[in-house]
């Protein structure tokens, strides 16, 4: 990717971020429920109108929409994402608190997913339309069809409650608590990714250069490792980038099922509490993340595919 292109992309990102933040800000503003009431209700006492008005003024919620938005925006531009109402700490700190849980889970789920789907996808493609392929496709179809929260609950029930192999209660980041959510995510993602690996490998196996390699007398396993896989990687990297982006956003449902202290669970809680600044901060994180990963994927292509590097397109 050339420098000019990169600058162009970065400018696009800024515009997109602006749009995304404006959109979520308006949606939160329009959604029913009052953050001040939510906040004070927690205390479970009857509060006077004055207290409510006072808190509202304190939080700046009595101002019109555009004033609120610009206050938030100028804050963000100066590196201040505001205070979380519910957590009573800066939004950045709150995000930072939940990030490790999500990072660890995303990493372990991605690795597990790759360990399952890459070998299965390759086998499925190489043994196309033979029993092994049908078996793998059947399993992956099953995996795609099962909702992951349900898989999570079943795993909790069987491996946690009945067999007592893993703890049921979450709440903290540790290896044994991570196994079940990792497995749940990996099953769902691997089911999809196996099919994508299969398609990508099949696509490459149909190319003329495979015939070329066979004519040059290479055995199939060498063709597979040295030629098919590197070529099949190219389309798969995009899909992997999307998967990782999805994971790093925090997987709300899974984190709720396993009460895993990650960004997803935090976001759900923030929405429930109408914690505007925290939701805004979270959405901003997701947007930056997706765009960042997409940019990384595109940059990686120019290194992995010589046709892009030298072709100048």
């Amino acid at each position: 990717m050339k420098r000019k292109e990169l600058v162009h992309r970065l400018m696009q990102m800024v515009i997109t971020l602006f749009g995304v933040s404006l959109l979520t800000f308006s949606l939160m503003y329009l959604s029913p429920g009052d953050p001040v009431e939510m906040l004070l209700e927690v205390a479970d006492t009857i509060v006077s109108e004055e207290t409510i008005a006072e808190t509202r003024a304190q939080l700046g919620l009595d101002k019109p929409f555009h004033v609120q938005y610009f206050r938030w925006l100028t804050g963000v531009l100066q590196g201040d994402m505001g205070m979380s109402y519910s957590a009573k700490m800066p939004v950045a700190d709150r995000l930072w608190q939940s990030l490790p849980g999500t990072l660890v889970l995303a990493a372990s789920a991605t690795v597990t997913m790759l360990l399952i789907s890459v070998p299965c996808g390759i086998l499925s493609a190489v043994y196309r339309n033979r029993p092994l392929d049908y078996f793998i496709r059947g399993i992956s179809f099953l995996g795609v069809s099962m909702p992951s929260f349900w898989v999570g609950l079943i795993l909790l029930y069987v491996l946690g409650l009945k067999l007592r192999l893993f703890p049921i209660a979450g709440g903290e980041v540790s290896f044994d608590r991570m196994v079940l959510p990792t497995l749940t995510l990996a099953i769902a993602m691997a089911a999809k990714y196996t099919r994508q690996v299969r398609t990508a490998v099949l696509e490459e196996l149909g190319q003329e250069y495979i015939t070329g390699a066979r004519i040059r007398g290479f055995p199939m396993h060498k063709i597979l490792w040295r030629h098919v896989l590197p070529n099949a990687c190219l389309p798969l990297i995009t899909l992997l980038g999307l998967q990782i982006g999805w994971l790093l956003g925090g997987v709300a449902v899974i984190e709720m099922v396993f009460s895993w202290p990650g960004l997803g669970k935090m976001a759900v809680h923030a929405i429930e509490m109408r914690d505007y600044p925290l939701v805004q901060g979270f959405v901003l994180w997701i947007a930056v993340l997706y765009m960042g990963i997409n940019l990384l994927v595109d940059i990686s292509y120019t290194y992995l595919d010589p046709r892009l590097k030298k072709g100048g397109c």
């Binding site: 149909g206 066979r214 040059r216 030298k310």
Partner: protein, 262 residues
């Protein structure tokens, strides 16, 4: 007899594409198969080296190479035969190379797959071979990706790779059809030179009867999956027997009343 194909039939699914093809080839001989597209000429040579696409399979006949029936080959035997004793040049040698790896790395990988050479020795052999095909700047070519070379250069690289182990048999599938006329003549000439030095037998598939006449000792004319005429090239060009061959010959452009064929 180096190669003897008898009663060869090839089917794609249920459809028989090639029927009862017989041909034979001695060491160093050049055989041309001509015919319009879809006549099954490419299928014949692909069947010989066991690289029919997807659904294709040999449904009958024998292919004897140095006295052995290739149809009984195991996978390991194919790997030992292909690329050393028998090789192939395609219409676009660029597309039969891995698009994301440099030509040099693929050439060297190929040489070392079939010989105990070191990296350094293989580089030297590869560059010598490219020079033999009159390619300038061999170092640059080794560092290039297939898509960076022109059509003529790609074909020369293809021939250089195919001839590096001095094969007994070279199958050439429309090796010059994608090139302009001037380059065509050069590549054909260079290919012939190398093959004559190494006494390599060639089967060339082409729709260009001019190229066929220039190169070959023997000629086979195919139409709709069957041989319509076969024999010494000079005899066929001088006295074509079948209507189809006559039509093919008549289709050759004439300049100043003189046919390019003879």
């Amino acid at each position: 007899m180096l190669l003897e194909v008898s009663e060869l039939s090839v089917s794609y699914g249920e459809r028989e594409i090639v029927r009862n093809v017989n041909l034979s080839l001695d060491e160093g001989e050049v055989l041309a198969i001509v015919g319009e597209s879809g006549s099954g000429k490419t299928t014949v040579i692909r069947a010989i080296l066991g690289c029919l696409p997807h659904e294709g399979r040999v449904s009958g006949g024998k292919i004897l190479f140095e006295g052995r029936n290739l149809l009984e080959n195991t996978t390991t035997e194919w790997c030992r035969l292909c690329g050393t004793k028998a090789t192939m040049v395609f219409q676009d040698s660029g597309s039969i190379l891995d698009p994301i790896r440099r030509i040099g790395s693929q050439f060297i990988e190929y040489i070392r797959e079939h010989s105990p050479m070191t990296q350094k020795e293989a580089v030297k052999v590869a560059e010598d071979m490219l020079r033999k095909m009159h390619l300038p700047n061999t170092e640059n070519i080794m560092k290039s990706y297939p898509f960076e070379l022109s059509g003529g250069m790609r074909q020369r690289v293809g021939v250089a790779m195919a001839m590096v182990f001095k094969p007994r048999l070279l199958l050439a599938d429309e090796p010059t059809s994608a090139l302009d006329v001037t380059t065509q003549a050069q590549v054909v000439k260079e290919m012939m030179e190398i093959c004559q030095q190494d006494k390599t037998a060639i089967i060339i598939v082409t729709h260009n009867i001019g190229v066929a006449a220039y190169m070959s000792d023997k000629l086979i004319v195919m139409q709709a999956g069957e041989i319509v005429e076969a024999g010494r090239t000079n005899d066929i060009i001088a006295r074509p027997q079948s209507m189809y061959t006559k039509e093919l010959l008549d289709a050759v452009p004439q300049v100043g009343g003189k046919s390019y064929v003879s």
